[in-house]
Amino acid sequence: MYNILVVDDDKEIVGAIEIYLKKEGYNILKAYNGEEALDIVNSNEIHLIILDIMMPKKDGLETLEDLRKNKTIPVILLSAKSEDYDKIGGLNLGADDYITKPFNPLELIARVNSVLRRYVSFGSLKKEEEGNVYKTGGLVVNDDTKKVTVDGKEVKLTATEFNILKFLLQNKGKVYSIPQIYENVWNEEGFGAENIIAVHIRHIREKIEINPKEPRYLKVIWGVGYKIEDEK
């Protein structure tokens, strides 16, 4: 049973999140401003914090800063601010993920699960690294077992999708155009198959990403190609 602290000055939002996460089997603690949140963190064992940014007394970013002085508890920021610089700023302060309001409950749950799995099962990853294993962040591709896991959760891919993902992960950080992917995965020049590759990649994204429109691993560089983000 993991303890999740939900911090938001809007009681109804906290209430809704509580309902969703309780259904997933988490224990929920509630706070309505930053100071309350810090008090609860100091007196309870908390595994994850969902933190709103715009709050009275102490806002989310200040709370996060104070928290990071002595705690490594994972934090998901939850904010109506959806600008890139808001997200980057939050992540740079030490947040583990960022969700914009209004959020999709399924996405929230997926991100909570993902962050918790990464945080809790960090040590167990070592076992899987044996054999032909390629990984970035929480994404692991095992070429021997043909298994793909994201944050420890197995994902079912077709053979073609697996080959494309494996190729991109083997060369993580590098951008490949559709013809290059075709040549490398099929070992032949592909004419007319261009948007089939694009469809496959979209399918992969839909399977391995929590929000395929804002992918974390399989990035689309429009007009250039695709790449797997190299996460340490």
């Binding site: 809007d10 496959h200 560089i221 429009w222």
Partner: protein
């Protein structure tokens, strides 16, 4: 002795001549002659001749030393000769001395009467008031008189040389000549009278006109000197000073140093003028920059002097006002964007609760179909509100230019393959067939890949929403060369044209301009999903990246055209 007489006996010849009908001899102041009116009594007739002869007597070549004998054959010639005619006329005149006097008085009287009549009547036309002037009267007076006198003198010369020769051709020419002479006199006379009567006599002189023109120019020059602030005044005095100094130095030419000084002075004056013109150029350039929209134009006022300094101050003021206005408008755009962003934050928080609780309601085990339907409506509307809020922020950001662009080289073919891949399932759901036309060669453009994708995404998303099911969608990319004859030259005019065509499901009873405006959509779509900001965002995003976005509606054909500058 000079003679043409061949005979040796001169005394005999002299006697012979004396014996002829007429002779005239002058001996010691006494005339011996047989011409009765040339004798001593009438000698005054030829007085001057006698006087000359008497004068000669004093000199060494006294006339008394000479005897002149001349003779001519006058047999039967007396009554025809000029001599004879003169003699007859003289005799007549001596007998009728008073006759010419009456004639003359009569003539003069008539002349005066006619002249008065002419003077009175000239220039008046029947049925017209005042003096009517014709084209001759407008010719400058002295020019006219000169020309007339020239013609007159030529005519006169021709006529006079014909003399007394009696010949019909000559007579005719002579008559014409006199006619011309009279005509010239008449022209001069008539025009003179007309001009005097029209009170334009003096004004019609060319000299008068020239003098008046000079006077006016000088008057303008000196009038401007009266105005205190004009540059003209300065220019005049500077110029005067220049001339005076030049003349003074020129007068000292023989000193040698003056030449050097004069040349030096001229060069100095040239540099002064040159500096003035260059300073003027600076101001002109600054004005041009302002005109072209640069707002960081500033002139160094201390470098300039006089009127140019004044101009520079004005230019700087304009530039300041201009850049202030731009700053103001940027600021107000930013404030607007900020306001919209903040408002959207405030909307998003309650919206989150609505969406979440509607979602929770959906998961409740509700049997009532009506309640289910209501919840469904709430769900759709709250989702639309979410989309609307997001698009509103984006539209305001993009249209105010409040976005950071990150340009990179984009392969158009790759972009469309990726985008079509993204939309393939949604196109297939609507049974839309995609027909892509691409050139053989690779096409690279410079763009911010995320925003370029947003443009295509918005257009594709519109197609999935509004295209007629089962129809075809045409995507064509063409390379365009504005100077086709000269492809090797400057490539900067090249651009690519992306055209996306589809058939609308509903009648497009709206203009393309209206469609691109914010919040406007084709009639029916107002009741379905979407915010109506898609095309507006696409247009703004194209324009901030240097492209052109255009919508063409032709019946049910919906065509989006994007012109994008090609990268080198």
């Amino acid at each position: 002795m000079y003679t043409n007489i061949k005979s040796e006996d001169y005394e005999q010849e002299k006697q012979n001549m004396k014996n002829k009908k007429v002779y005239w001899d002058y001996v010691d102041g006494v005339v011996d002659t047989n011409i009765n009116y040339l004798d001593n009594e009438n000698i005054k007739y030829n007085y001057s001749f006698i006087y000359a002869m008497e004068k000669q007597t004093d000199s060494s070549y006294s006339i008394s030393d000479y005897d002149i004998y001349s003779s001519c054959d006058v047999t039967n010639a007396e009554e025809y000769s000029a001599y004879g005619l003169n003699e007859t006329l003289y005799t007549y005149m001596l007998e009728n001395r008073t006759a010419p006097i009456y004639g003359t008085i009569l003539s003069i009287g008539l002349l005066i009467v006619i002249a008065i009549y002419l003077f009175w009547s000239i220039g008046h036309k029947e049925g017209e008031e005042g003096i009517s002037l014709n084209s001759i009267d407008r010719v400058p007076y002295e020019v006219l008189v000169f020309v007339c006198l020239m013609i007159l003198s030529i005519a006169l010369a021709v006529t006079a040389n014909i003399g007394r020769t009696i010949n019909y051709v000559f007579l005719l020419v002579g008559a014409l000549g006199y006619l011309v002479c009279y005509a010239m006199c008449a022209i001069i006379g008539v025009t003179t009278i007309k001009r005097i009567k029209a009170k334009k006599f003096i004004k019609s002189f060319l000299v008068y006109k020239i003098v008046r023109w000079c006077y006016r120019k000088l008057k303008i020059l000196f009038d401007t000197l009266d105005e205190k602030t004009t540059e003209n005044k300065k220019l005049f005095w500077y110029y005067l000073l220049f001339i005076v100094i030049s003349i003074m130095l020129a007068c000292l030419f023989y000193t040698g140093i003056a030449i050097i000084l004069l040349i030096g002075f001229w060069i100095w004056a040239y540099y002064k003028i040159k500096k003035y013109i260059l300073d003027q150029e600076k101001i002109k350039k600054a004005l041009k920059d302002i005109y072209e929209g640069k707002n960081d134009v500033r002139l160094n006022e201390d470098e300039l002097r006089g009127a140019l300094k004044e101009m520079a101050i004005y230019v700087n003021d304009i530039a300041n006002g201009f850049s202030n206005a731009i700053q103001e408008s940027l600021k107000s755009e930013r404030l607007k964007t900020e306001l919209i962003t903040n408002v959207s934050h405030d909307i998003k928080t309650p919206l989150t609760s609505i969406i979440n609780y509607v979602d929770l309601l959906k998961k409740e085990n509700i049997q009532d179909e009506k309640v289910k339907e209501y919840i469904d409506i709430l769900d759709k509307k709250s989702q639309r509100l979410k989309k609307l809020t997001e698009d509103l922020v984006e539209a305001s950001k993009v249209s105010s230019g409040n976005v950071k662009l990150n340009f990179e080289s984009i392969d158009i073919k790759e972009l469309f393959n990726q985008t079509i891949g993204e939309f393939k399932d949604r196109f297939e759901d609507k049974d839309l067939k995609i027909e892509v036309g691409m050139p053989e060669s690779d096409i690279k453009i410079k763009a911010d890949s995320r925003y370029l994708y947003r443009i295509i995404e918005n257009l594709f998303s519109n197609i999935t929403k509004y295209a007629l099911e089962g129809s075809r969608v045409y995507i064509d990319v063409t390379e365009n060369n504005k100077n086709k004859d000269n492809t090797n030259s400057n490539n900067s005019h090249n651009y690519i044209n992306i055209s996306i065509k589809n058939i609308s499901k509903d009648k497009l009873n709206i203009s393309s301009d209206e469609l691109m405006q914010r919040f406007v959509r084709g009639d029916k779509s107002r009741y379905t999903e979407g915010s109506g900001l898609g095309l507006s965002i696409a247009k703004s995003l194209t324009e901030i990246q240097g492209g052109k976005f255009n919508i063409i509606i032709d019946g049910d054909l919906f065509k989006a055209e994007i012109d994008w500058p090609m990268s080198q």
